[in-house]
């Protein structure tokens, strides 16, 4: 990866934000989104803007791009090389957008118009701002696509978004942002919607282009590990205020503000183990998965009779693994790798072929999953918003497993309070509805629900992926505590390699429905056998220490 060049600090800043305040109008009055924000970006500089959800980092992007609701109130100054943006007319803004400030959005699937060819969406900025004719714009567009690393630029110009992969689309979006050689580009979490390996490639591309053009960049992200690899300076934003600002090294190795310190402490560091190692490998396996395959899609009607190809595709293909009692087995892979499919098969949500043995007993399908199995094997889902029934109160949600698994009638208040306490929630939450809880709190309720029946195995299906990093840290803490307390085994599914290296005993790597590697966590960085595992290790950014150093 080419190194980020030092910024040119002798020139005036490209983007100068001074004492900027932003209030949004809400039905209950004005809400302050940004409070006294001051920062500037010089030519060639990459400023990371780091914050959790609700911090205001995206609002700052909209403020710079002047994309705010008419009812918003502003104060302060935002200037683009001496041009005050707050007082600019709308026609001036239209001329600036795309030409002098560009933006790369988070999800290329939604930021591209599904009914227009990719080439058209690229060429139109050239026509608009650089006054090219359509033909000139298209040929210029082609060369731009070649520049961002697309292999068949001419063909890609004519493709529609749904005909391109996520990585390809994001390259087109990047090409569009760079097309008119803007002075400044805002990157709003450009790799969040991509898988790790593609994200790595996009980051390389970004570094290359940035080095070449010296464009002043704002890189918005919640991922500190990523930011530490990509930016020169970083600004940390919390509840609309910039709590800390400075060069990457100094802020990340010696943070001054308590919030920054908390944030950094919460970031998964693969070499900081949270779970003590020794595991009793002599005891009988808790869970054995033998040759599990799950197929999706319908068999074609009268398929074999009419000679139609079987269009089913394998969600899982011949998976073999085992979990010891009390073991944390991490399962990593990208979306589409089949890890959730396996979780669903183990809990009867997907039909499967092959055999599962739990505690020695064979389980060949839904009919073998009796009450005892259900009590012992619990599943926690990714999205806290949808895994709790919005029309049930917390105490109802928590007592259901107790009723179901035969502990008699609905649990009394003290039992519920005990369950809430285990996940560090106040007993008063029992009367609340899910929408009255935050995402992290909901997830804790889901954990409490799973542990209600004292299961022997808990399957965690990406349970922290939609949580902020600090919230994630507290949830992981609870999980680790519970494991120590009850000796529960976990099947911990995630795409975050750094996190899983902190807590798992062994790690299984899945790729396209197959299990490609099963290895002790301590060895994964050094002794991985499969190419995919190695590619994954090198693509995942590690906080502060830079990549390529496990």
């Amino acid at each position: 990866m080419p190194s980020i060049p030092a910024p040119d600090l002798t020139m005036p800043p490209i983007l100068d934000i001074a004492g900027y305040c932003l209030d949004y109008a809400t039905p209950t009055g004005f809400k302050r989104a940004l409070d006294n924000v001051t920062l500037h970006i010089a030519k060639g500089e990459v400023l990371g803007l780091v914050g959790e959800s609700g911090s205001g980092k995206t609002s700052l992007a909209w403020a710079i791009m002047r994309h705010l609701p008419a009812s918003a109130r502003e104060a302060g100054r935002i200037a683009l090389t001496d041009k005050d943006l707050l007082t600019a007319s709308s026609s001036e803004i239209d001329a600036i957008r795309g030409a002098r400030i560009g933006m790369v959005f988070q999800d290329p699937s939604t930021s591209l118009n599904p009914t227009l060819p990719l080439g058209e969406q690229l060429a139109e900025v050239l026509v608009r701002h650089r006054r090219l004719t359509r033909r000139q714009a298209w040929s210029e567009g082609e060369s731009l696509l070649a520049k961002v690393g697309l292999k068949t630029p001419a063909a890609m110009m004519h493709r529609y978004p749904h005909e391109a992969s996520g990585g390809e689309k994001q390259r087109v979006v990047i090409a569009t942002a760079f097309a008119c050689q803007p002075e400044c580009i805002i990157f709003d979490e450009p790799t969040t919607a991509l898988d790790v390996i593609t994200a790595g490639e996009i980051l390389d591309l970004f570094a290359e282009l940035q080095a070449e053009t010296g464009v002043a960049s704002i890189y918005i992200s919640h991922d500190l590990a990523l930011v530490s690899n990509v930016c020169n300076r970083v600004a940390v934003i919390h509840h609309g205020k910039l709590v800390e600002q400075g060069p990457i090294r100094s802020v990340f190795t010696a943070p001054t503000h308590p919030y920054t310190r908390g944030l950094l402490a919460a970031v998964p560091q693969p070499d900081q183990r949270l779970v003590e190692m020794p595991l009793d490998t002599t005891s009988k396996a808790l869970l054995e998965v033998e040759n599990i395959s799950v197929r999706y899609g319908k068999k074609p009607f009268l398929g074999r009779l009419l000679g139609r190809k079987n269009t089913q595709f394998a969600g899982n293909h011949a998976i073999n693994l085992s979990v010891q009692p009390g073991e944390i087995l991490g399962i990593v892979g990208e979306s589409g790798s089949g890890k959730s499919t396996l979780a669903k098969a183990l809990t009867g949500l997907n039909p499967f072929e092959g055999e599962i043995r739990f505690g020695g007993r064979p389980v060949r399908g839904l009919k073998d999953m009796d009450t005892a199995y259900r009590r012992d094997v619990q599943l926690i889902f990714q999205h806290p918003d949808s895994s709790l029934n919005p029309r049930q109160r917390i105490h109802e949600i928590l007592s259901r497993p107790l009723v179901l698994y035969g502990e008699g009638r609905a649990a009394d208040a003290s039992r519920i309070a005990e369950m809430l306490e285990q996940v560090r929630l106040p007993a008063s939450y029992a009367d609340r509805y899910p929408h009255q809880l935050s995402g992290g709190e909901k997830q804790r309720v889901a954990i409490a629900r799973a542990f209600a029946s004292r299961p022997r195995l808990v399957i965690c299906d990406e349970i922290t992926s939609s949580l902020d990093v600090s919230v994630q840290a507290s949830v992981i803490e609870i999980l680790v505590d519970l494991q120590r307390l009850h000796g529960t085994g976990y099947l911990f599914i995630t795409h975050d390699l750094n996190l899983v290296r902190q807590i798992a005993h062994r790690i299984a790597v899945m790729y396209r429905g197959e299990l490609v590697e099963l290895i002790a966590a301590a060895d994964i960085a050094t002794s991985a056998k499969h190419d995919y595992t190695r590619a994954l290790i090198s693509a995942v950014p590690i906080p502060l220490t830079g990549r390529h150093r496990p």
Binding site: T347, L379, Q382, S386, N389, R391, P401, L404
Partner: protein, 274 residues
């Protein structure tokens, strides 16, 4: 409850809808009690009268007081429409939810058949059923209920599918809950709200449909004070008195607009995102 009412009043549709429908319900309940005249009394000497202090809305071709007929007729028109919609919704909801739960081939077959039935325009289907059963208000009610069932089945299925995909339903299945528990306790409470919105809007359509059937002579029969029937009878005497035509027509429009507004207001109030 308070929170819900406040949300309803927030949108102009909700507020206005509640007002209009509220008034209608009042009329339905106490209409006959406050009607100034007997709706069935003929007064041959007082025919085609314009609105006057004695007959606030005028009289019709038999000298009957239009206002009283409207007040009595509210029950005929509105209650019938509500029942028809309710019946159609119940049956349709059952079909739709079951189809959503079954999924796969069964779901597809059921829905294709529902689509095929929906191929017959509602009015046409209602006409055919009334032909089968005979002309009367009750049969018109049944006809409308049957005509609405496939549409409600479709809507319910679509809502049920969305709910089915939610993780709390999967969580329940993964816990080993029985299918009955899943459908009854986890799915249905979350399916109800969008269905209520849809039903309210359909009542408006039912009112119009019922009045149209009566207008065509296939619903309520004379001398019932049903509003559509009143318009139909009034057409012949349009030149003699415009009022006997105008008031029942406006009454039908009032009810339809009211329920449409109420439905839209409910949609906004029950939407968690707004």
């Amino acid at each position: 409850m308070n929170n819900f009412l406040r949300r309803m009043i927030r949108s102009p549709q909700g507020a206005l809808g509640m007002l209009l429908v509220g008034l209608i319900l009042v009329v339905v309940v106490i209409g006959p009690a406050v009607a100034p005249h007997d709706p069935e009394i003929f007064s041959p000497l007082l025919r085609y009268k314009d609105p006057s202090p004695e007959f606030w809305l005028g009289t019709d071709q038999y000298g009957r007081d239009i206002l009283s007929r409207l007040l009595y007729g509210a029950r005929a028109t509105v209650v019938m429409a509500v029942f028809a919609t309710g019946l159609g919704t119940l049956v349709g909801a059952f079909i739709g939810t079951t189809s959503a739960y079954l999924g796969g081939r069964s779901d597809e077959i059921i829905m294709r058949t529902v689509d095929a039935v929906m191929s017959i325009p509602s009015l046409l289907l209602a006409l055919l059923i009334v032909t089968l059963l005979g002309k009367s208000s009750t049969n018109a009610l049944l006809a409308i209920a049957i005509a609405f069932t496939p549409g409600m089945a479709r809507v319910t299925r679509s809502v049920a599918l969305t709910v089915r995909k939610q993780d709390y339903v999967n969580a329940a299945i993964a816990r080993g809950e029985s299918p009955l528990f899943v459908v009854w306790r986890e799915m249905l409470p979350n399916v109800v709200a969008p269905i209520v919105v849809e039903t309210t809007v359909r009542v408006a359509f039912a009112v119009m449909l019922f009045a149209t059937l009566s207008f065509l002579g296939l619903g309520a029969q004379p001398p019932a004070p049903e509003w559509g029937l009143m318009v139909s009878e009034a057409r012949r005497y349009m030149h003699l008195s415009v009022w006997m035509l105008l008031w029942p027509a406006l009454a039908v429009a009032w009810v339809a607009i009211g329920f449409n507004l109420l439905g839209d207001g409910l949609r906004d109030a029950l939407n968690p995102r707004t």
